[in-house]
C-alpha cells in the first residue's frame, strides 16, 4: 500500500528507481483515489485518465531499460486550467472557453513533459484567475480539504486543494496578485511566485501580462525548488522572460543564515492582525534568528498603496487582454446575428460577474479624461514602491510579512463584497507590483487552520529565498 499523503518528488523518485512500485501502479492509485476523493473536494475540472497511464507506461519502460530518469519523471502533477496542454481543453474556468482545445503546449508544460512528469488533470480556478477563493469558477466549487466549509483560497484553489488532499504530489499555479501564495497559505502548503521574467508565460492564458507569473504549489520547499529548477529560463516565445537559471545544488551549500539580514516590514503589522497570526509570525522570527539571521524592522512607506495600484493596473490589462474573446474564435457556441450583436451576446452571457466587473473597471481607468488620474498615477506609484523595495534590499537580503491577513475564510463569506475579497491579497500584491520573487510557508498557532509567513527577495535571488525557506522548514518541523 502506497501512502499517498507521504509522497514528495524525491520519495516518488526513490520508489520508482528502487522498483518498489511501478509508475503505472502509482498513477493508477492516484486516479482511483481522485475518483473517490474529488467528489467531495472538487479540485479537478478534468482528469487525464488514459493519457496519464500511457505516460506512466513510458516511464516504466525507461526504468526497465536501465535508463537514468529525471527526479520529476513519473511524478503526478496537477495543472491549473489556464495553462495550455496541447490537444486538451483549457477553459480558465470560463464559459467563454468551454469548447476550446489548446493547440500547443505552454513552455512550462513542454519542460515538465521533457522531465517525464505526469499530468493527472487540470484544476479549478477563479474564472480567468480573477479571485481569491475559487468561488468565481463558472463550473464548480472547490472546498478546502483542511475544513470543507471553507474556501481553498484563489485563484489557484484547485491546484492547492488537489495537493493538500493528496490528489497530486505537486501542482502548477499562476500568480498575478497572490494566486499561488494565498491558496498555498490557506491549504497549509508551500507556494512560490518566481521573479517576473524567471519563468516563461508562453501558453498561460493572460490575465494581466505585466504581473502574471507561473510557479509551483507543493508540500515542501524542496519540491518547489525542484520544480523551479525545471521550469525556469529564458524563452524566445516570451519576450518578457529573462536569462535565469536556478540550480538546486546551490541550496545544499547553504547551512545557516549567518550572513542573511531579514527585514520585517513594519507597515504589514500596523493593522490589527489576528493575535494568533501575530504570535505565529513572532515564533517564526525567533526560529529564523536561531538560524543565525539578523532580523530587524524595515519600512516600505508606500507598501499599503500596492493594492490600490493593483486594482488599476490589473483591470486595465484585463480589459485589453480579454478583448480577444469576441465569440468568433476559441470555439464559441453558435449565436447568430450581426457582428455587434454577436459580441454582446457572447461576452455578455459567457463572462462571469467578477470578469465583467474588472473589464469595466479597466475600460474606465484607461478611458479618455481618466487615464492620467488613474492609470498613469498607478504606474508612477508602482515605480515609487519598486524603488522603496530596492532601497530596502540594499540593506536586507530578505523581507518578511504574513502571506494573508487571515487563515482560510468560509465559503460564501466574501463573495458578495468585492472589496473585502480584494483585501485578502493585501500582503501578496506588493511582490507582483515590484516584480519580486516571494514564497509562502505554513506556520501554526493554536488555531487548527494554518497561517502563513511570506518571504520576499530581490529579483532573481530565488537562491537566497529558497535556501532560507528550506532551513526554516527544517527547524520548524522539529
Amino acid at each position: 500500500m502506497i501512502k499517498l499523503h507521504e509522497l514528495t518528488i524525491r520519495k516518488v523518485h526513490e520508489l520508482l528507481t528502487k522498483k518498489e512500485v511501478s509508475s503505472f501502479e502509482l498513477i493508477k492509485e492516484f486516479l482511483e483515489y481522485i475518483e473517490e476523493r474529488d467528489k467531495e473536494i472538487g479540485a479537478y475540472l478534468r482528469v487525464f485518465h488514459d493519457e496519464a497511464l500511457k505516460q506512466a507506461n513510458e516511464i516504466d519502460k525507461k526504468i526497465a531499460a536501465g535508463e537514468e530518469i529525471d527526479l520529476l519523471a513519473g511524478v503526478p502533477v496537477a495543472i491549473k486550467d489556464n495553462i495550455l496542454i496541447k490537444d486538451t481543453p483549457s477553459t480558465a474556468a470560463s464559459k467563454i472557453l468551454k469548447n476550446y482545445q489548446a493547440t500547443y503546449d505552454a513552455t512550462v508544460i513542454k519542460k515538465l513533459k521533457k522531465a517525464g512528469a505526469i499530468f493527472l488533470g487540470k484544476t479549478n480556478l477563479d474564472e480567468f484567475a480573477m479571485g481569491s477563493s475559487t468561488e468565481n469558477s463558472a463550473f464548480q466549487l472547490t472546498k478546502n480539504p483542511l475544513d470543507e466549509t471553507r474556501v481553498p483560497g484563489g485563484s489557484s484553489g484547485g491546484s492547492a486543494s488537489a495537493v493538500a488532499s493528496h490528489q497530486a504530489v505537486c501542482a502548477l499555479g499562476s500568480d498575478t496578485g497572490g494566486s499561488i501564495r494565498q491558496p498555498a497559505a490557506f491549504c497549509g502548503l508551500v507556494g512560490l511566485k518566481p521573479t517576473y521574467g524567471a519563468v516563461s508565460r508562453f501558453g498561460l492564458i493572460a490575465m494581466a501580462s505585466s504581473l502574471d507569473q507561473i510557479g509551483p504549489i507543493t508540500k515542501t520547499v524542496e519540491d518547489a525548488a525542484l520544480i523551479l529548477e525545471r521550469i525556469a529560463g529564458e524563452d524566445p516565445s516570451d519576450a518578457t522572460s529573462l536569462p535565469f537559471n536556478f540550480n538546486f545544488k546551490e541550496l545544499e551549500k547553504i547551512t545557516d543564515l549567518k550572513k542573511i539580514r531579514i527585514g520585517v516590514i513594519k507597515e504589514c503589522f500596523e493593522q490589527n492582525l489576528e493575535p494568533d497570526l501575530k504570535n505565529a509570525i513572532d515564533k517564526s522570527i525567533k526560529l529564523l534568528k536561531s538560524l543565525g539571521a539578523e532580523i530587524d524592522e524595515v519600512s516600505i512607506p508606500h507598501i499599503a498603496a500596492s493594492l490600490a495600484c493593483y486594482y488599476i493596473i490589473m483591470p486595465a490589462e484585463v480589459s485589453a487582454n480579454l478583448a480577444r474573446y469576441d465569440g468568433l474564435r476559441y470555439a464559441s457556441k453558435e449565436i447568430s446575428g450581426s457582428l455587434k450583436e454577436l459580441y454582446f451576446k457572447n461576452r455578455g452571457e459567457n463572462f462571469g460577474r467578477e470578469v465583467r466587473r474588472r473589464i469595466l473597471l479597466g475600460t474606465f481607468v484607461l478611458s479618455s479624461g481618466y487615464y492620467d488620474a488613474y492609470y498613469l498615477k498607478a504606474k508612477k506609484v508602482q515605480k515609487l514602491i519598486s524603488d522603496e523595495f530596492e532601497r530596502a534590499f540594499q540593506k536586507y537580503q530578505l523581507l518578511l510579512s504574513p502571506t494573508a491577513p487571515t487563515s482560510a475564510f468560509k465559503l460564501g463569506e466574501k463573495i458578495n463584497d468585492p472589496l473585502a475579497m480584494y483585501l485578502s491579497d493585501i500582503f501578496t500584491v506588493p511582490a507582483n507590483i515590484a516584480g519580486l520573487p516571494a514564497i509562502s510557508l505554513p506556520v501554526y498557532e493554536n488555531n487548527k487552520l494554518p497561517y502563513a509567513l511570506q518571504l520576499m527577495a530581490p529579483p532573481f535571488k530565488e537562491r537566497d529565498l529558497l535556501a532560507a525557506s528550506l532551513l526554516f522548514e527544517k527547524i520548524s518541523a522539529k
Partner: protein, 99 residues
C-alpha cells in the same frame, strides 16, 4: 461619505465600449461596487509622484531579429478549427454594414 465617481449612465457607456451586457437588476449593485472600488483606489492621489520619471528604463532586453522562428509553435490548422465559421483559412464574420 463616499463620492459617487461613477453613475448608471457611465456604466452603460462602459458596457457599450467593452461589448458587455448585464441584467437590469444587477446594475444598481454594480454601480455601488465600482464606486466602492474606485473610492479605494482614488487614495493614490494623495501620494506625491512629481519626481517619478517613467521614461527611464533600467534593464533593456536585447530583442531578437524579426525573422520567423524555426520551431512550429502551434498547429494552426487546429487553431482555425475553433473559428465559428470559416472560408478556407479565413475567419468568416457576419456583415459589418447593412446593405
Amino acid at each position: 461619505m463616499e463620492k459617487k465617481l461613477i453613475n448608471e449612465k457611465t456604466v452603460e457607456h462602459l458596457l457599450e465600449l467593452s461589448r458587455l451586457k448585464i441584467d437590469e437588476k444587477e446594475k444598481e449593485k454594480l454601480v455601488d461596487d465600482l464606486n466602492e472600488i474606485l473610492n479605494y483606489v482614488k487614495e493614490l492621489e494623495k501620494i506625491p509622484t512629481e519626481n517619478i520619471n517613467l521614461d527611464v528604463i533600467k534593464k533593456s532586453k536585447k530583442l531578437r531579429s524579426d525573422k520567423p522562428g524555426e520551431e512550429n509553435l502551434s498547429d494552426w490548422e487546429k487553431l482555425i478549427e475553433g473559428f465559428k465559421e470559416r472560408k478556407e483559412a479565413w475567419l468568416k464574420i457576419p456583415p459589418v454594414f447593412d446593405r
